[in-house]
């Protein structure tokens, strides 16, 4: 497959070179469902990393130490939801670890699955003979994975190597963009230490960062039946933290940018931080009217206000002045069909069951017709 399209990504040129940390918010908001069992009472003092909510084998940990203040509404992954408010006391008092073995990588596959799931590091399939590590950001204007690799190359490679043994992987691909020059050099230098990991330099075309597309590019059809374990570098780093540092996942990297911000930044934030707080403290919005787009300008979704919280699902936030070109009559150029990575035809609904909602057809249409997608599906 070679029909990927280069996307205009001027924004990347404006991203700060270093990761910005925003780890001391005044308040943290943790999404609450009626099905969750609450482990705290009103106005209770809690430690950092203590369990606040539990649902079967899944737990929600407090990213800060502080006081539980009550409930309030916030936007959680695009929908309004109740959230538990924790006032940060900035002491970072940590609760005791629940105890993991001393040799972090000397564990069985079942134990690994149990641990990473309970600590919120990874919740998907870990069965398969091929391991694909995705170091390519899902969208061209995001830089989260690239920065994560740059910052934590050793740790990511170490845990990937360990996972190959624990999960009995036969083949492991580590994919990054060939244009990600800093990481290409660093990884090439380190690959000698990890002979089981095969570095794959992928051409910088959209949507190569998409899970399905990347697996299709890397794994032979004959090997698909044996199963494929897919991890992003963020998943790998989360697993590293859980196994090695014995801490739950309470922080993440998020790309924050957009044509209405003077500078784009990759920010390290606590999960549960309100986006409004980060933007108010770290950015200046150029205009009063703006659109807030979560998880990419091509395949993301829009939210109505900045009163949304950072969840593990959020990769990027864009404050944008959206292109308002009016749609005109289709000119039958076929670009939507020809460039579709899954050979769908959005105009006539052909192969739409294969659609990965990458938004490429919408991007490329010269008539500016909205072909696929809706607000937060």
């Amino acid at each position: 497959m070679t029909k990927y399209v280069k996307i205009n990504k001027d924004m990347n040129k404006r991203i700060n070179k270093q990761i910005k940390e925003y780890l001391s918010p005044d308040y943290i908001y943790l999404p609450y469902n009626n099905k969750d069992s609450l482990n705290v009472k009103g106005k209770e003092e809690i430690y950092k990393n203590s369990i606040v909510l539990a649902n079967k084998n899944k737990f929600v940990y407090s990213p800060v130490s502080g006081t539980v203040m009550g409930l309030c509404d916030n936007i959680v992954d695009g929908k309004n939801q109740k959230t538990i408010v924790i006032e940060n006391n900035f002491k970072e008092n940590v609760s005791k670890s629940s105890g993991i073995k001393k040799d972090p990588y000397n564990i069985s596959k079942n134990d690994l699955i149990k641990i990473v799931k309970s600590y919120g590091a990874f919740d998907e399939n870990l069965n398969g003979k091929t391991l694909v590590i995705n170091g390519i950001d899902n969208e061209p204007n995001e830089a989260t994975f690239s920065y994560l690799i740059e910052e934590h190359t050793d740790q990511i490679l170490e845990v990937v190597d360990a996972l190959i043994n624990i999960l009995d992987i036969h083949k492991c691909f580590f994919a990054i963009k060939d244009s990600d020059s800093n990481n290409v050099i660093t990884l090439l230098n380190q690959m000698g230490t990890y002979p089981n990991i095969e570095l794959k330099l992928m051409k910088d075309y959209y949507p190569i960062g998409n899970k399905d597309i990347l697996i299709k590019e890397l794994v032979l059809n004959s090997k698909m039946d044996d199963g494929v374990v897919y991890l992003t570098v963020e998943d790998a780093f989360n697993i590293y933290n859980v196994l090695k540092r014995k801490t739950p996942i309470t922080e993440k990297l998020v790309t924050i940018g957009g044509n209405l911000l003077t500078k784009s930044k990759v920010v390290k934030v606590k999960i549960g931080t309100r986006i409004a707080d980060i933007v108010a403290d770290e950015f200046k919005i150029k205009k009063d009217e703006y659109h807030i787009i979560i998880n990419g300008l091509l395949s993301g979704y829009e939210i109505d206000s900045l009163n949304a919280i950072i969840t593990p699902n959020i990769r990027s936030i864009f404050i944008e002045e959206v292109n308002t070109e009016k749609p005109v009559k289709c000119i039958n150029c076929g670009l939507c069909h020809i460039n579709c990575p899954v050979s769908a035809d959005p105009r006539y609904g052909i192969n739409m069951n294969k659609c990965i909602k990458c938004g490429l057809c919408n991007y490329i249409c010269p008539s500016k017709i909205h072909l696929v997608g809706d607000k937060h599906e």
């Binding site: 659109h291 979704y301 829009e302 005109v328 009559k329 076929g334 670009l335 020809i338 490329i364 500016k368």
Partner: protein
């Protein structure tokens, strides 16, 4: 709201202007061949020298007027400025002007082009190739009113023995801007840089037509006419600029190949009947089938 927050820079207006840019060398060559050269040799007056450019300009203006009229009746939300280039009709106007004979009357060209472009805006739901239809109509009307020829007054007054190089540098007969094969190749290179340009169409249609012509001329002992039959009458120009009109051509990869082959064969067939209408007729026939071709290809794809 939807998930469209970033768009490519391509839009109808810049696609149209890039295509016009690709046409400029041919327009200048047409101006030299059918204007300057005739004026220098005292065949025409100064005013008549400008006739090739007047056709191009008129075609462009008629396209804009049609867009404005259509927008004022149907798409009332568009401003006059937005409606000027809201479709490819200004480009169609220039292309029709490029294809027709220099002997066409200006009033006839203006009237027929205006009527056909305007009507096509309202009723051309099957998207047949309006450039081909208008040009064919002009050729027919001209033929019945005062006789049709692609030759200008200089070519009519002189007996020309053309060799391959003559066709390449625009000495062959054809429409106003269609004769210069080398410049056409240059234009094709420019067009290939436009994302929406269907480059497979000129390649496959030219190949099919040339192959048919080579076989025919070989079998009928007319090998000496092969180049003339391929390069004259604006056939290659039509394959590059007219057959690739995105609205009236197939867009699926296989569809484009089938569509091009139909053009090549139909053009060859019509050439045997009446050469001046061959390319336009072939393109018109293929454009009538283009939707069916795409539907068949897509159905086949969906089955797989």
């Amino acid at each position: 709201m939807n998930n469209v927050y970033i768009r490519s820079k391509d839009n109808l207006k810049n696609i149209m202007f890039k295509t016009i840019l690709a046409l400029i060398p041919l327009i200048l060559a047409g101006f030299y061949k059918n204007g300057i050269k005739l004026y220098i040799n005292d065949y025409v007056s100064f005013y008549a020298m400008l006739k090739p450019l007047i056709f191009d300009l008129l075609g462009f203006i008629i396209g804009i007027i049609v867009n404005i009229i259509y927008s004022s009746i149907i798409k009332k939300d568009l401003s006059i400025k937005e409606s000027c280039f809201s479709s490819f009709h200004p480009l169609y106007g220039i292309l029709i002007a490029s294809i027709i004979s220099i002997n066409t009357r200006i009033w006839l060209f203006s009237l027929v082009t205006f009527i056909f472009l305007l009507i096509s805006k309202f009723i051309n739901k099957n998207n047949i190739n309006i450039i081909a239809l208008t040009s064919l109509s002009l050729i027919f009307i001209t033929k019945f009113i005062y006789g049709f020829t692609f030759l200008n007054v200089y070519e009519q007054s002189n007996t020309l023995n053309l060799v391959a190089l003559d066709y390449l540098i625009g000495r062959g007969s054809g429409g106003i801007n269609t004769s210069h094969v080398l410049l056409l190749a240059f234009s094709l290179i420019i067009l290939c840089n436009i994302r929406t340009f269907k480059k497979e169409i000129p390649i496959y249609s030219s190949a099919t037509y040339s192959l048919c012509m080579i076989v025919y001329c070989t079998l009928t002992n007319q090998i000496g006419f092969i180049l003339d039959n391929i390069f004259a009458n604006g056939i290659l120009f039509s394959f590059v600029f007219v057959a690739t009109d995105s609205l009236s051509s197939s867009y699926t990869n296989k569809g484009k190949i089938i569509y091009s082959i139909i053009i090549g064969i139909a053009t060859f067939g019509l050439f045997l009947v009446y050469p001046p209408l061959s390319a336009m007729g072939g393109i018109l026939i293929a454009s009538i089938c283009h939707k069916t071709i795409d539907n068949l290809v897509l159905k086949n794809m969906a089955k797989k």
